[in-house]
C-alpha cells in the first residue's frame, strides 16, 4: 500500500511530525512525502534516515521535492542501524566525551552590541585552537547569522565542521531572517533534532 503525505505549506517542524505519525502507523510499502522547501526536505530526509530508511530518493518537481522510501529498505537489524548512525554522525561516535554548545545570538553577552559581536568571533576562533572542541554546535535565532555568507566566523566554522564537529542551524530562524539561501556552513535543522541534542546525554553549554 502506498501512502502520500502532502506537507506543502506546512511550517517547520510539521512535515517531520506528519512523517513521524505515518511511520508509527506503518502499514505501507511505499511512502511519499511532498514538501515545498529545502529546510523541510533536509529535515524529513534526515528523520527518515535516523528512523532506519537508508535509501531516501528525492525527486525535484518544479518548486517541490518528493521524498520516497520503500518499507522493505528499512533496517531492522540493530547492528546495521548503529553502523548507519556512525556514517551519519561520525562525530558523535568518535568524540563522545564532548559537549554541545547552544548559541542563541550572534553576540556574546550583553552591554555593547559591537563588543558582543567581536567577542563571539573571538570565541569561535578560539574553538578552532583548543584541543577539546565541542561535538556539536547549535545555532538559533540571530546565532544563524554566524553561519551565512558574509559572517566573520565562516572560515572558523568551516574549519570546525571539517574536524567532524556537527553544526546544526535552525531552519525556522534562517527562514525568518530570509537567510536560507545564504547558508554556507552546517546542516539545516529543526526543533526536534535540536531538542534531542539538548536533552541528550551530552552536557550542554549555552552561550
Amino acid at each position: 500500500m502506498k501512502k502520500l503525505i502532502d506537507a506543502r505549506g506546512l511550517d517547520c517542524p510539521q512535515p517531520v511530525i506528519a512523517t513521524k505519525k505515518v511511520l508509527e502507523e506503518g502499514d505501507f510499502n511505499r511512502l511519499e512525502i511532498l514538501v515545498d522547501n529545502k529546510a523541510a526536505r533536509e529535515n524529513v530526509s534526515r528523520y527518515l534516515k535516523k528512523s532506519g530508511y537508508e535509501q531516501v530518493n528525492i525527486k525535484i518537481e518544479g518548486e517541490n521535492f518528493r521524498l520516497i522510501v520503500e518499507s522493505n529498505s528499512v533496517k531492522d537489524d540493530i547492528d546495521n542501524r548503529v553502523e548507519t548512525d556512525q556514517k551519519e554522525y561520525p562525530d558523535q561516535v568518535n568524540n563522545v566525551a564532548g559537549k554541545t554548545l547552544f548559541i542563541g545570538s550572534n553576540r556574546m553577552g550583553s552591554g555593547s552590541d559591537e563588543l558582543g559581536e567581536k567577542l563571539m568571533t573571538a570565541f569561535l576562533y578560539t574553538l578552532t585552537e583548543i584541543n577539546t572542541p565541542p561535538t556539536c554546535i547549535i545555532f538559533m535565532n540571530s546565532g544563524v547569522y554566524l553561519c551565512v555568507e558574509g559572517s566573520d566566523s565562516l572560515d572558523n566554522l568551516i574549519k570546525l565542521n571539517n574536524k567532524n564537529i556537527e553544526i546544526l542551524v535552525c531552519g525556522t530562524c534562517l527562514n525568518f531572517f530570509d537567510l536560507t539561501d545564504k547558508l554556507r556552513v552546517g546542516k539545516i535543522s529543526n526543533m526536534y533534532d535540536i531538542v534531542e541534542h539538548l536533552l541528550g546525554s551530552e552536557p550542554v553549554l549555552s552561550i
Binding site: 559591537e114 563588543l115 567581536k118 568571533t121 573571538a122 576562533y125 578560539t126 566573520d152
Partner: protein, 85 residues
C-alpha cells in the same frame, strides 16, 4: 606573505585598528591574545600580509598607537611568536 600579530593597550584601540586596516582589503582577524603573549588587552590582531611597514604606517597615520608586534610561525601545528620591530 607572513602572519603577524599586533597587540594593543586597550580594547578600543584594537577595534579601531581593525576598522582602519580592514579598509586596506586584506586578511585580518581580531582574535583573543594568545596565551604565549602578554598584553594589556585581550584582543589582538592577526594579520596576513606581505608588508609590515604598510600596516604600521597606516596605524600611525590614523594615530593608533600599538603595543608590540610578533611574527607568527607554525611548526607541526604548534604556533611560535617572535617579537619584532
Amino acid at each position: 606573505m607572513e602572519n603577524f600579530i599586533i597587540t594593543f593597550y586597550s580594547t578600543h584601540l584594537a577595534l579601531k585598528a581593525e576598522k582602519v586596516l580592514n579598509k586596506m582589503v586584506m586578511k585580518i582577524d581580531l582574535i583573543p591574545t594568545p596565551r604565549e603573549i602578554s598584553s594589556e588587552c585581550g584582543f589582538t590582531l592577526l594579520i596576513h600580509h606581505d608588508n609590515r611597514k604598510a600596516i604600521t604606517d597606516q596605524l600611525t597615520e590614523n594615530e593608533i598607537v600599538y603595543d608590540e608586534m610578533y611574527i607568527m610561525t607554525e611548526i607541526n601545528g604548534a604556533k611560535k611568536y617572535e617579537k619584532t620591530d
